[in-house]
Symmetry: C2
Subunit: 212 residues, 2 copies
Amino acid sequence: MPQTDTTSPVIDFIFDFGSPNAYLAWKVLPGICRRTGATLNLIPCLLGGIFKATNNRSPVEAFGEVKNKLAYEALETRRFVAKHGLAAYRANPHFPVNTLLIMRGLIAARRMGVAAAYLAAVEAAMWETGQKMDDPEVVAGVLGSAGLDAQAILAATQDPGVKAELIANTEAAVARGVFGIPTFFVGSEMFFGKDRLDQVEEAAREARTASA
Amino acid sequence: MPQTDTTSPVIDFIFDFGSPNAYLAWKVLPGICRRTGATLNLIPCLLGGIFKATNNRSPVEAFGEVKNKLAYEALETRRFVAKHGLAAYRANPHFPVNTLLIMRGLIAARRMGVAAAYLAAVEAAMWETGQKMDDPEVVAGVLGSAGLDAQAILAATQDPGVKAELIANTEAAVARGVFGIPTFFVGSEMFFGKDRLDQVEEAAREARTASA
């Protein structure tokens, strides 16, 4: 849903609910958009599909056997949470959660015009209240509690067009150079990881200046 | 060589000549020290020893099979080089270079009071002129050209005390939580990677403020 116009830079956000760092970035990006005048273009992709296409793995898998490394990553998460005041963040006890259903649901929710409410409800369920969001009954409960039409959204996840859009987004991201999530683009400039949001903000500011 | 006093924060720099990112950080750290009043405490360690102790690997080894990942790392290196005006930087064609000799040489050079000249000469040979610095004859030539007593330094690399200091530094770093290079500490706060130098600068500034 980019509200593109000739003067507003766009930040593409390669997104999957399964990434805690994508949640953390998603909380910080509105402030970056406000300060730079940028528009956020969230692009739903399957992290599992990106990993398969690039032969990549999650940090937990890649570094699980490396002493000190995951403890440091956890420290950087705590620093990020403290710096940005994201006290509601909690690791999901069911991690890793298979996100195929809720990612298809995001595309379905967009088509129904309820993407913002869906995003907020599912991100909170994943990374604030730690629910098992690969269980359709749990998902239905979360959507219902948020006032969304859970049955209609879950039915639409089986729409071939919805499924195809998610696959196409994922393939296009890999073709652009993506290997993980969260990844950001400002124009053709790619940035990987929540720790590079300062660079994203700078690039968005420069893009606005260049077009002004 | 920390010039510690009661008011100046210290930035510990876990260092090995074999890391291109350590070279890049080493070029940027003097500005951080100037701006924050911090003192740089370069701690020579063996990256190979850190990897062995933590079961870690170099990015080239860990991500060599991951599509897009190393291309992105190279992009971030180009951005860092451009941002900080480090035009002299060149990848070393002999990478990876075994740094055991030149790291022992750094400790030897310190004991002789010529660490600054040694560091500058060896970093330039590694990451500006691309020399094969695990060849003792090449090392001798580089040190001689810099006006250093190559024979004395190379002889001192065989001193059991020099060897033991390098091992002790490496073990102490791992015990502090290190898993790679470059790593920085401001007090007990650890930061990994050249991309976190902004955080290092902020921590150094805060440390000075807190003690003032």
